[in-house]
């Protein structure tokens, strides 16, 4: 660990999220999807890669209820989970 005498060291710059803030789900409209996702994590040693369908479903729930700005799921990192896409895969 560095010593405390490091004036002039860069400080951590918190950055706002790319797509802004999630509105609060005051009525728990997507709570079931959250519970499914959390159960998946607990059943899979908290390995995110094994629960991506569940996280996609949670975000879809939010989008359907105006709790998240609609966004193509391919742009949210779910391209590989989308069916029937035959066009060439772009990287983003």
């Amino acid at each position: 660990m560095s010593t405390a005498m490091n004036f002039g060291t860069k400080s951590f710059q918190p950055r706002p999220p790319d797509k802004g803030s999630f509105p609060l789900d005051h009525f728990g409209e997507c709570k079931n999807f959250k519970e499914k996702f959390m159960k998946c994590l607990r059943d899979n040693n908290f390995e995110n890669a094994l629960c991506r369908n569940e996280s996609k479903q949670y975000l879809e729930c939010r989008m359907e209820r105006q709790l998240m700005a609609p966004e193509p799921l391919e742009k949210l990192g779910f391209r590989d989970l989308m069916d029937g896409k035959s066009e060439a895969k772009d990287n983003f």
């Binding site: 860069k10 999220p17 803030s21 609060l24 959390m38 994590l41 949210l76």
Partner: protein, 135 residues
Amino acid sequence: MIPVKDRIIKVTFNADVHASLQWNFRPQQTEIYVVPGETALAFYKAKNPTDKPVIGISTYNVVPFEAGQYFNKIQCFCFEEQRLNPQEEVDMPVFFYIDPEFAEDPRMVNVDLITLSYTFFEAKEGHKLPVPGYN
């Protein structure tokens, strides 16, 4: 964005509230394992146990410091005021990814643990949100 599947990173979660904020605030998972380039979802939970509405606002921190530049939040609950009514409890999601360039940075070679910390403050008029770090 292509996941770097051979580079597993453990992300752990901290939750704090500033002394004047009476919310109960905690992460809903202690850890999650991700790889750079793979989007991930995690949850916090907040409850207002008082009998008055309370507005909070949060900031976050990432350690180790050098990994913070690769930590990208697509969407979360920070930097905007969040109002909880009396006795209300809500889930607070964070949707994020670690930039694939993390795996190319020689300084990150020994980094396999990243800790994300959120701190909630009470949002009051005229209250200046303390931003971590030196100004």
